[in-house]
Amino acid sequence: MNTRPSSTLLEQAGRNLKGKTVVITGATSGIGLAATKIMAGYGAFVIGIGRSEQKCRMAETEIRELHADAKIAYLTADLSLLREVRKLAEKIKETVHKEGNDCIDVLVNNAGTFACWYISTEEGFELQFAVNYLAPFLLTYELLPLLKAASTGRIINLSSGSHYRTKIRWNDIMMRKHYNCLMAYKQTKLANVLFTAELNRRLGKYHRSNKTQDSCINIRAFVVDPGLVNTQIGFKGTTGIVKWIWKMRSQRGIEPEEAASTIIYLAGDPNVLNSQEIYWKNCHPLKPSKYSQREDVALRLWEMTEQMCGIRWEN
């Protein structure tokens, strides 16, 4: 059932974004660019992240043409490298402070990639794993203090229907030996759901332990399933056959603007923070896969990821 989100709810969520600080990765094309436009249009201060200086400038010009008074700032970083993610977090903090703010209201981990071949990053991680999963994990970790400082902090991770019907391959999590691009992609999207669920469990504990101080801490993480969207994702880093399949498939997809509406809704809706649901599609909650809700799996993945990033997450 594809119920359209009610436009008044969306309007309300959008208006709520006025004056809020939003960080969104992958803001130079597809869903990320669409979401950036809409949020900037509602008067949010949007910090968009892209990987190419040129595409960032193009996106910025495009948005300023739409909304002359838009408050936006673009930063570049190659999210496939953890050391770049760390540097980026520092740049984001600087940008936020320069704007006279001391918090981030919304973090959208949207950047994602697809790679036909096994490609190892300079740090020895598989490319899709690094961009789609490790980067969101580390960026969230680095920005968490600023998100906690917001009146309502929201973390929105992009997953997808491809997280269903797959598992974590513990013995070879980056599929070094038997790489299959689709399986590798599916696994990163599953990892995003597991990460989000575990993050919420941890934030919940943090929340409970702080309740006595009467400071109302409101912070939650969500997953967005954008559905099939007509973007360029399947044309980047892929070879002939995959390009061709994506060409056929993506034509049936919805437009990026429509896919962005769930992001806007989760970023701005005043009531959604009280919801216990984590997986959202078309502004409605949906059941994620059973496997993605297993606490043991999430914890094991979490600890493995901490080790990869060289961090220890204390709440």
Partner: protein
């Protein structure tokens, strides 16, 4: 004294795959390659992820003086080695007559001279308690004379021949020498493009680097002489040994030339065209 595995060319595609595989098996690493920055970033990540010790030292292996500096650094670390993986190597594609004297020297120095010198020195520092493994990365090209890759193929043949002999010499001392002879490996965007340029044949003779690295180490641990990844490559190698080398060389020459001009003919034509449109591989 702790045992380490020395890997040259450690931040390249295959080098990284070997390093990750060794680290996954819990082995300490000594890495070398050109760029200090890349080495540092990779080493930190390996130490975090796999909880092993990693030492690194940048070195331009084509430079004899730098090699000496590297070797004395290694000696000063006071460590022993359980394996040596010689990955560093380079290739200039194109006509031999287009090569500059500098390029000719560089290729011989890196592919042959550096390899032999490092091998000789590291052998002295091997851990005598257990078998010592040497892995030399040659190429399927070691078996053929290849027009447009003439020096490269010949240097790899040198390595193959040398490794086979060394293996026999050192057999009584518990040292094994394994030569890896891969066809194209999709490691860097340039490699991927080159493989795709060869059309369908390039694609199906290609294996995943992570798989190749893991399998090579398995073969080395068993003391095998040569490992050619992929059943098809093994078959090719086997049957081509019955064909006169003049014929094979002519055939390879024409294939490469056509690949360069982007017009491989039937029956590969159709599939070839599908794979050909690959701009933007990242």
């Amino acid at each position: 004294m702790e045992s380490y595995v020395l890997i040259t060319g450690a931040t390249g595609g295959l080098g990284k795959a070997f390093a990750v595989e060794c680290a996954y098996r819990g082995w300490n690493l000594f890495l070398t390659d050109l760029s200090e920055e890349h080495l540092c970033c990779f080493a930190t990540s390996l130490m975090n992820t796999y909880a092993v010790r990693v030492i690194y030292s940048p070195c331009d292996l084509t430079d004899a003086a730098e090699r000496q500096k590297l070797l004395s650094h290694i000696r000063s670390c006071n460590i022993s080695f359980s394996a040596l993986i010689n990955v560093a190597g380079l290739d200039y594609e194109g006509l031999f007559s287009d090569r500059s004297p500098e390029q000719i020297r560089t290729l011989i120095r890196l592919n042959i001279e550096a390899n032999l010198e490092i091998t000789a020195e590291i052998l002295k520092l091997r851990n005598r308690i257990k078998p010592f493994r040497i892995i030399n990365v040659a190429s399927l090209a070691a078996y053929y004379s290849m027009p447009l890759k003439a020096m490269y193929a010949a240097s790899k043949r040198f390595l193959l021949s040398f490794s086979m002999a060394l293996r026999e010499e050192l057999r009584p001392y518990g040292v094994t020498v394994t030569t890896l002879c891969p066809a194209g490996l999709p490691t860097t965007p340039e490699c991927i493009k080159a493989i795709e340029r060869q059309g369908f044949a390039g694609i199906i003779t290609t294996k995943n680097v992570g798989y190749v690295a893991a399998k090579t180490i398995d073969h080395a641990l068993k003391g095998h002489a040569v490992y050619i990844p992929g059943k098809l490559n093994q078959l090719l190698r086997f049957f081509s040994s019955f064909i006169p080398s003049v014929v094979i060389t002519r055939f390879i020459g024409s294939r490469w030339q056509r690949a360069g001009e982007n017009k491989l003919q039937k029956p590969e034509h159709l599939i070839w065209n599908l794979w050909r449109k690959t701009e933007g591989v990242t």
